[in-house]
Amino acid sequence: MSLDWNALGQVTAVSIGVTVAVVVVFALGVLGLARFEGAREDGGGTSSLGLAQAGLCFLACAAVVAYGIYLIVPQFH
């Protein structure tokens, strides 16, 4: 039996790293969205900073999703 500890370690490191990164970036995006919506409702003004933050973060997440689809679909490789 040859257990590939290297592969196991890689799966562990990459999985945890990617999960935490995606969730943190997404959470920051959600926070930006919350700020934008909050500002719109409270004072009639808009928080363009919040919107930009949300847009940027969600865009980054969309890129990760696109890469995930690339990995799943064998025709792309």
């Binding site: 039996m1 040859s2 257990l3 590939d4 592969a7 196991l8 890689q10 799966v11 562990t12 990459v14 999985s15 945890i16 990617v18 999960t19 935490v20 995606v22 969730v23 943190v24 997404f26 959470a27 920051l28 995006g29 959600v30 926070l31 969205l33 919350a34 700020r35 919506e37 909050g38 997440c61 999703v65 995930g68 689809i69 990995l71 799943i72 679909v73 064998p74 025709q75």
Partner: protein, 384 residues
């Protein structure tokens, strides 16, 4: 198609039946948390998941080249053993569904095949070192990795968004869940449907209906895709309830963290050629997400029963597979028919018992327990 004997036809039908229970059993992996948090309506969730499973089945060109991934000696495997193994896997899948426990469909299949080959060809047909490498170690490692990832991610998600407006935060994470759940479904379709396609194709090759090195015919791809998609769409609501509500009460940030962790673990392992069970990964993620939210309650009793089910999945399916293989080996076509009829009768019995306390799209989120007996214990029903 005069190569298609009675036995081969039975194997094809049984393989599609297994594929159906596989989809049915695994809907929860992708969709349980989305259903529990209300990110998707139950019916919409299973429809999305079913369609993505079919799409995944058609996308995957790398159909399994071995029946078992090396766990049993494929040269010793006869269509009769495949049939016996599939019967073991189907019955175990249905039984765990009845009690609402998420167990691995792949382990059930491996177990059934191991039992059938052991009885049919002797213990030297089973590669026990491969069983450790491909089943045991991933079964321990993958839920732990997914759980740790989901735990850290959940903790950070709550910490970061603590200052944000509650309703915006919930809404945002719900939208994210739809994307992450869809990715899990697509990955499932590309992985699990191809196992059935591989089994059918290899059976047809061994019967001489297809040439060596032939790919799966279109009807095999289409029927395997439809079987898993239909199974997914009908949804194993009992398992969805356990995973979405039973293990812990899931909120949308947790659901997003759990699904992201599942997707990350499934995709990285698939990319590095590491076999694992989607069910165990998803369950590990959900437990991690439960622990990551402070004061969230994890029902360790349910988690313990689930882990117990994981441990006995392979031996139980092996036992049924072995008994069926003995009947097929000594009884020929007659034995096959008897096994098929008994299997169908037990399956029908399980479905009838499940009707006593049905779980469906409309009540899946009402409760966190899946009871076999009717809820009020006024009259004592016996769980068959």
């Amino acid at each position: 198609m005069d190569h298609i004997t009675f036995l081969v036809a039975v194997v094809v039908v049984t393989a599609l039946a297994f594929d159906f229970t596989n989809g049915f059993h695994d809907t929860a992996n992708a969709m349980a948390t989305s259903i529990a948090t209300g990110a998707l309506k139950p019916r919409t969730a299973v429809l999305v998941s079913g369609v993505l499973n079919i799409v995944g089945a058609f996308l995957s060109t790398e159909v399994a080249k071995t029946i078992s991934g090396g766990i049993v000696d494929d040269t010793l495997v006869s269509p009769g053993m495949i049939f016996a193994g599939l019967v073991g896997a189907i019955l175990w899948n249905l039984l765990t569904w009845l009690v609402g426990l998420p167990s691995s469909s792949s382990h059930a299949l491996f177990g059934g095949l191991i039992g059938a080959v052991w009885v049919g060809a002797g213990s030297n047909g089973v590669h026990f070192d491969k069983v450790v490498e491909k089943v045991l170690i991933p079964a321990v490692a993958s839920p732990v990795v997914a759980g740790v990832a989901a735990l850290i991610a959940t903790y950070l998600a709550y910490k970061l968004t603590a200052r944000g407006r509650k309703d915006s935060v919930t809404k945002g994470f719900r939208l994210g869940q739809i994307a992450s759940a869809s990715l899990v479904s697509l990955a499932h379709g590309t992985n699990d449907a191809q196992k059935t396609m591989g089994i059918i194709t290899l059976t047809l090759i061994s019967a001489g209906a297809l040439g060596h090195d032939a790919g799966p015919p279109v009807w095999v791809i289409a029927s395997a895709g439809l079987a898993i998609g239909l199974g997914t769409y009908l949804g194993g609501w009992r398992i969805i309830r356990t995973m979405g509500k039973g293990l812990t009460e899931i909120q949308s940030p947790q659901g997003f963290a759990a699904e992201t962790a599942s997707t990350a673990v499934i995709l990285t392992s698939a990319h590095l050629g590491f076999a694992l069970s989607t069910t165990q990964v998803a369950s590990g993620s959900i437990l991690g997400a439960g622990l990551g939210r402070r004061l969230a309650e994890v029902r360790w009793g349910v988690a313990g029963r689930m882990v117990a089910a994981w441990l006995i999945t392979l031996p139980s399916a092996a036992l049924v597979g072995g008994i069926s293989a003995a009947a097929v080996k000594h009884g020929g076509n007659f034995g096959t028919v008897v096994v098929a009829l008994i299997g169908a009768a037990v399956a029908a019995g399980i479905v009838v018992v499940s009707r006593r306390n049905p779980v469906h799209a409309n009540n899946v989120n009402d409760h966190h327990e899946v009871a076999v007996r009717t809820a009020p214990p006024a009259h004592v029903g016996t769980a068959a």
